[in-house]
């Protein structure tokens, strides 16, 4: 569904993304993980042409994005932002209905029905939240609206840029579960960027590890754990492992006392 072929991005002599190739299959949830500066967000933004690549080719649904009008391309792809995604001067309903408006949906009532439907899907009561402004919502509620906005025009492909990064642990884990459910039930193809390896393992059908603009390994979480391709991937897995061991140790101490 999404195919990157030897994609390169050079910013003023600096290779942010270096000959990067990756295929995201239809219905797959692919997580792109790496430290900040690894080039993962740049890669994501090249897919909907917020950034144009310096070299290589990108296909979405079989079509070369380089041949498409970037504006129309973006309207066909759902996009969820890290922090400020919602426009502060628009209500929840107006934020969610931006893409239908851009697409020129004429039937106002149909748009309103669709907005309400999506608010329900992301777990926000339409009557209560429709007319609120973003600054009247909690962080979790805002991100739910962000997801509703990305999905409202029924995109086949969704790009997510650290969507749950700014949330507290409990809200994050709840939203992760809910998104996984939506991804499956709507048959979406999702590419998500995160620096949280646990999130990557929990959500991803496959996880792609990036470092210095290059792809180190792309495999299912189990395979990644069992057979890391190199020392860096292994070290990346070190942190969750030690955390798990400590957690078990603490639990067993409690049993003894």
């Amino acid at each position: 569904m999404i195919r990157l072929e030897g994609v390169t991005k050079i910013f003023e002599g600096f290779r942010a993304v270096d000959r990067f190739s990756l295929v995201v299959d239809q219905g797959e949830l692919m997580v792109l993980v790496g430290e900040s500066g690894s080039g993962k967000t740049t890669t994501l933004k090249m897919i909907n042409r917020l950034i144009d690549p310096s070299g290589g080719r990108i296909f979405v649904a079989g079509r070369d994005t380089g041949d498409q009008d970037p504006v129309l391309l973006r309207r066909s792809i759902g996009y969820v932002f890290q922090k400020i995604g919602l426009f502060p001067h628009m209500t929840v309903a107006r934020n969610v209905s931006i893409v239908p408006a851009l697409l020129g949906w004429k039937d106002k009532a149909a748009v309103n029905r669709r907005v309400d439907e999506l608010l329900e899907v992301v777990g926000l009561e339409p009557e209560r939240y429709r007319h609120r402004y973003p600054n009247e919502l909690s962080g979790g509620q805002r991100q739910r609206v962000g997801v509703a906005r990305a999905l409202v025009a029924k995109p086949a492909v969704v790009l997510m840029d650290e969507p749950f990064g700014a949330l507290d642990a409990i809200t994050r884990s709840r939203l992760q579960k809910e998104y996984l459910r939506l991804h499956k039930s709507l048959g979406l193809t999702t590419l998500m960027v995160t620096h949280d390896i646990m999130e990557a393992f929990f959500l991803g059908d496959r996880v792609a590890v990036m470092k210095d603009g290059r792809l180190l390994q792309c495999d299912a979480p189990g395979k990644l754990l069992r057979r890391p391709a190199d020392g860096y991937v292994e070290s990346l897995l070190e942190t969750p492992r030690t955390q798990l061991i400590r957690l078990e140790a603490i639990a067993s101490e409690d049993d003894k006392s």
Binding site: N48, L50, V71, L72, L73, R74, R75, S76, Y79, F81, K83, I84, G85, F87, P88, H89, I98, V99, L102, R149
Partner: protein, 508 residues
């Protein structure tokens, strides 16, 4: 007494306020509709931003009075057009700057989000950047509106009546009721305008239609009375039975203009007075027949427009000047009114006698220990140059004053000598004495009634003004000026008195 003075001033309010409002609203409307698109362009085309803001900034540093006055020769017109052009230039800077700042201040994350959702540049601008920058842009508009209301008072000297008429003539004639009415009206207008703009801003940001309508209705209500005087004037200008009389910015000019107005009025003309005009503005306006008549002084035309430095004597100056005016500009000099309002030097009476000074020659040797004060113009005029050279004047210090403050300054000894006008009522009132120009260096300043090339063909008008020619003496003019400047009489009372003198003079 106070209420009648106030009533007299308030009667002028519809005309002045109406003109002021239409000028302000037009300038703001044009200024804003130029500034916002230009600012938006500047935010897109990077290299444009600096020159645009620099240009507007420079316009802002030009003193407003000078900016408006410069528009007169630039546009070759007086009245509404140059005033409007100056105000438009003046209104642009805060709107330009705030629009650029506002658009650039929108968080780049919102801009990227808008693009990621598939907005075009135009959609980004209208749906995201402008709404988010609106508070900053509106703040700029509010600053511009308050400035323009204030600066519009300066359109009076370029020939566009405004609330500035109250302020200019009030300060000159010591009529502080008039000044106060002008200032209060301008302040009230600024506040109302600011309030309405704020109302519309709130309405737009809250999408409150009712509030927005209230604001828009308020603006419309401001615009309607503003149009009335324009329509009235348009109607008044029809046909040649209307006359426009000009006046410069001092008491004597107001009184004479009022006297002429009555003459023309009695002959069945519809008369309007265009007052408090700048000295060159009024002459240019007459040349172009935008005014029908005003009174100037032979020495002014001799030195300023004919650039003559010689002094062939009073009658010769009159004759040569009249011929020159007709030949060069088609202006007809109907004759001298009889009095002379010359430049002179004046001192306190007691100070002059203790120094033994009666003439400028007497003064010359004492100048190194004395200071001199003059009006803004005086030290730049050829008369001062001539006096200084011919009498070898070497004053220790020289200071420029507003004419209103010059007389108290010499009275209190802040300066020893001042430049004065010979018909000024303040000379006797402040206990001053004029020093005789014993070597006849200064040119004569006969008050002459000038008619524009268009009015020169109007024999009826000439006949109406004829009885005033040669009828007013120096002493009478000084008395009439004193009535206004010191006795707090109105211009119209002084004109009453002066026409009484003229009638009385006819009988014997």
């Amino acid at each position: 007494m106070i209420t009648s003075r106030l009533a007299e001033q308030l009667a002028l309010l519809p005309e002045y306020l109406g003109n002021h409002m239409i000028l302000t609203l037009c300038a703001l409307a044009i200024g804003i509709s130029i500034s916002i698109p230009v600012a938006l362009l500047a935010t897109r085309v990077g290299w444009l931003e600096w020159p645009v803001l620099a240009f507007a900034g420079v316009m802002q540093t030009v003193p407003a009075l000078a900016l408006l006055a410069l528009m007169v020769p630039l546009l070759g017109r007086i009245g509404f057009a140059p005033a409007l052009a100056g105000l438009v230039l003046y209104s642009m800077f805060p709107v330009l700057r705030n629009t650029v700042t506002g658009i650039k201040g929108v968080d780049p994350a919102y801009v990227e989000a808008a693009r990621a959702l598939g907005m075009t540049d135009g959609q980004l601008l209208w749906r995201v950047q402008l709404p988010l920058a609106a508070p900053v842009i509106v703040a700029g508009i509010r600053i511009a509106s308050v400035w323009v209301v204030g600066i519009a008072t300066l359109s009076t000297p370029v020939g566009s009546p405004s609330l500035g008429n109250y302020i200019f003539s009030g300060l000159q004639t010591q009529n502080f009721t008039a000044v106060l009415v002008g200032v209060v009206a301008a302040a009230a207008l600024a506040m109302v305008l600011d309030l309405l703009i704020r109302l519309i801003e709130i309405a737009v940001s809250r999408r409150n239609l009712a509030l927005g309508m209230t604001g828009a209705l308020g603006l419309a209500l401001l615009a309607i009375p503003a149009l009335v005087p324009i329509l009235a004037t348009a109607e008044g200008r029809v046909g040649e039975r209307s006359v426009v009389i000009g006046a410069k910015t001092f008491t004597e000019q107001y009184i004479i203009a009022e006297l002429l107005r009555r003459r023309a009025d009695d002959s069945g003309y519809r008369v309007s007075n265009l007052q408090s005009l700048g000295s060159t503005v009024v002459f240019d306006a007459l040349k172009a027949s935008r005014l029908d008549c005003y009174v100037d002084y032979s020495g002014t035309i001799w030195a300023n427009y004919m650039k003559r430095r010689d002094q062939p004597g009073r009658q010769s100056v009159l004759k040569i000047m009249s011929a020159w005016l007709l030949k060069e500009h088609g202006i007809v000099c109907l004759g001298s009114l009889g009095f002379e309002n010359a430049y002179a030097l004046a001192m306190r009476k007691d100070r002059a006698s203790s120094l033994g000074v009666r003439t400028i020659s007497d003064l010359a040797s004492r100048t190194p220990t004395l200071s001199i004060g003059g009006d803004y113009e005086f030290f730049a005029r050829p008369e001062w140059e001539a006096l200084r050279e011919q009498y070898q004047l070497k004053f220790a210090a020289r200071r420029s004053f507003d004419p209103t403050l010059m007389y108290p300054a010499v009275q209190r000894g802040v300066v020893d000598v001042i430049s004065a006008f010979t018909t000024d009522g303040r000379i006797p009132a402040f206990g001053l004495v004029l020093l005789r120009d014993d070597r006849q260096i200064l040119p004569p300043y006969d008050a002459v009634l000038l008619l524009s090339p268009a009015a020169a063909r109007n024999t009826r008008l000439k006949r109406a003004f004829q009885p005033v020619i040669g009828r007013i003496s120096d002493e009478e003019m000084r008395q009439a000026n004193m009535l206004v400047d010191l006795k707090k009489s109105s211009i119209s009372q002084a004109a009453d008195w002066l026409s009484g003198q003229i009638e009385a003079g006819k009988k014997p």
